[in-house]
């Protein structure tokens, strides 16, 4: 199954991430976001970070999760390529993210993502198909 699609927006860019269940959709949303920032094929799994996010509902949890990853990217310059969702409910997420420090000589970096936003944010959950739509301020 496809991990995500890019959706267009006037000044900005968004994604729709897919999964057979919520953990997979959350992992693919993060993968989609980092794909906008770098070519993930060249990124190795050399380090990992444990991440917890909390929010009031599924939608806000998506924003919290993705913005937490952006914070680590800026603060520690780690670009992530794999996400292990250990636990996810509609208000809480625990995950391990794997990647490595940015290396401009080896990584093909694209434009940055400033933030995941609440605009047009949509989480759809059904028996064997989940999707997350999120628009980024880029």
């Amino acid at each position: 199954m496809k991990k995500f699609d890019v959706v267009e927006h006037t000044a900005d860019t968004g994604i729709v991430a897919y999964g057979t269940d919520m953990p997979e959709a959350f992992a693919n949303a993060a993968y989609g976001m980092f794909s906008l920032m770098a070519d993930l094929r060249q990124v190795r799994e050399e380090t990992s970070r444990y991440i917890e996010a909390e929010a009031g509902d599924w939608e806000s949890l998506v924003v919290s999760w993705l913005n937490e990853l952006l914070y680590i990217f800026d603060a520690e310059r780690i670009v992530f390529r794999r996400f292990d969702i250990l636990q996810v409910t509609n208000t809480r997420l625990k995950a391990d993210a794997y990647g490595e420090k940015v290396d401009p000589s080896r990584h093909r970096l694209r434009s940055g993502v400033k933030a995941a936003t609440y605009h047009m944010l949509k989480v759809v959950e059904s028996k064997d198909h989940c999707s997350i739509r999120v628009i980024f301020d880029v």
């Binding site: 800026d74 401009p104 970096l109 694209r110």
Partner: protein, 485 residues
């Protein structure tokens, strides 16, 4: 995206009103500055509906305004201006944006086009190396916790104290590069951690350094006050903001204010319009944190100015004094400010949100430096990298009508993704080179995303503001070379 079918009532050739009757809950009418030709593209997206949403904000006065560079943004449209009463109105981070104090700084030189053109490649390469740019780039200055707090409190003044530039630079920076009321304790540790490695970096996306040459001069006395004498003179334009620190402050406070809104019993039509009373604890905290981010951005532009000067000195082999790389002005175009205006005959203290809009104070305004007292505040309006930019000055009419605000740039008309489709950086670079413009980009896809075709023509945007009387055109400048983040 669905076309916007709401009412646009013609006031005159450049003013279009959205009447309050359009939606129950609007506290003021909307007003969009545009030419008739622009209306079609404005209707293509929901930006006008965002003008309507902003009109719901408690305490809003006058009109919910949009400049001709209006396009869709988060909460507020880009190009949106709204003033709310400090006494009983709200402040919204969505009226400032994620990149707090994204802004532009213009410097003039004594150099002529024919001296610079032969060395432009060398100059751009040096700027590219000397000013950290691109995704994940880190600054050359290492700042600890204490120093970060100094940056957040003192802004550009911190940079000048560290030897990056002079007191003269502060004189011609909006707020002298330091917005009062900044409180670093209101900025999360996360925001500081994001900002710390990025101090003194250009960033990516639409941020740039551009070497320009003066083309047309429309207003000789105003140009002269800016140190611009005639066509052929070389300028430097810097466009960047508060980087990850500002983004985190915005994200933190959109969340805090969304919760606060329920406590204060405020309802708005869009989640990104989260707001709180200006005088509430949450509103005050946001203003204090926003001021910190604004100061961080001014410090950032000040450091970049200093390194750019070093590059010019090295490439042209003259002293800085001979090169005359002096500041014209520095303006914020994503910010909220507490200012006083007369509304319906009453002097009111207002919180003016400018999101993708530039402050434009007229001649005689008390907050202008002596140099610009007689001509008005310089308004810097960059276009896309393939065309041209403008410098204008503010007018009395802007103070009366748009809370001393005017447009900020060209305004996008195409998503970055769409702009990039089937277009390679190399093609864009070749196309620009054919027009005498050298471009260097740190990010892959960076040039394609920012190609001219992705933007409206800034000349049309500026013309509307000029004819509507919100600003007066002073000069037009053309790019010689661009460093894209």
């Amino acid at each position: 995206m669905a076309r916007w079918e709401g009412p646009l009532k013609k006031i005159d050739d450049y003013r279009w009103e959205i009447p309050m009757e359009y939606k129950t809950g609007m506290r003021v009418p909307g007003l969009i500055y545009a030419s008739e030709d622009m209306l079609e593209s404005i209707r293509e997206e929901q930006a006008a509906e965002q003008v309507v949403n902003v009109a719901f904000l408690p305490g809003i006065v006058g009109h919910s305004l949009a400049m001709p560079d209006i396009h869709w943004g988060y909460g507020f449209p880009i190009g949106g201006v709204a003033a709310t009463r400090v006494e009983d109105g709200v402040i919204s981070p969505g009226g400032v944006g994620y990149d707090i104090n994204c802004g532009v700084r213009l410097l003039r030189t004594n150099l002529r086009e024919d001296e610079v053109r032969p060395k432009i490649e060398e100059l751009l390469s040096l700027l590219f190396t000397n000013v950290p740019s691109g995704l994940g780039s880190t600054g050359k200055i290492k700042v600890g916790k204490k120093e970060m707090d100094d940056i957040l409190t003192d802004g550009a003044r911190w940079a000048v104290k560290r030897g990056f530039g002079t007191e003269d630079d502060l004189e011609v920076t909006e707020e002298r590069g330091c917005l009062k009321g900044a409180d670093p304790d209101e900025v999360s540790i996360k925001a500081k951690e994001r900002g710390s490695p990025q101090s003194g970096t250009l960033g990516s996306g639409n941020h740039f350094l551009e070497v320009q040459v003066v083309g047309e001069i429309y207003d000789q006395p105003a140009a002269r006050a800016m140190g611009i004498d005639d066509a052929g003179q070389v300028l430097l334009l810097i466009h960047t903001g508060s980087r990850g620190l500002g983004h985190q402050v915005c994200d933190d406070y959109v969340r805090t204010l969304r919760e606060a809104m329920q406590r204060h019993g405020i309802e708005v039509p869009d989640r990104e319009l989260a707001c709180a009373p200006v005088k509430s604890a949450e509103g005050r905290s946001y203003l204090a944190a926003m001021a910190c981010a604004a100061n961080y951005a001014w410090a950032n532009r000040q450091c970049i100015t200093h390194w750019s000067r070093e590059c010019f000195v090295r490439v042209f082999g003259h002293s800085l004094r001979e090169i005359g790389l002096e500041m014209v002005y520095d303006v914020a175009h994503n910010i909220a400010k507490i200012e006083s205006y007369e509304v319906n005959g009453k002097k009111l203290s207002l919180c003016v949100h400018r999101k993708g809009a530039t402050r434009a104070f007229p001649a005689g305004h008390q907050s202008l430096p002596a140099r610009y007292r007689e001509v008005g505040q310089p308004v810097l309006i960059p276009g896309d990298m393939g065309r041209y930019s403008f410098v204008a000055v503010g007018t009395d009419r802007a103070v009366k009508e748009s809370f001393g605000s005017v447009c900020h740039g060209a305004g996008r008309r195409m998503s970055r993704h769409a702009a990039k489709r089937g277009v390679r950086d190399a093609d864009v670079a070749r196309d620009l080179a054919a027009r005498g413009i050298i471009a260097k980009a740190a990010s892959r896809g960076g040039l394609a995303e920012e190609a001219s075709e992705a933007y409206k023509d800034v000349a049309e945007v500026v013309e509307v503001c000029h004819r509507a009387g919100l600003c007066r055109k002073v000069i037009k400048a053309y790019p010689l070379g661009v460093v894209k983040g």
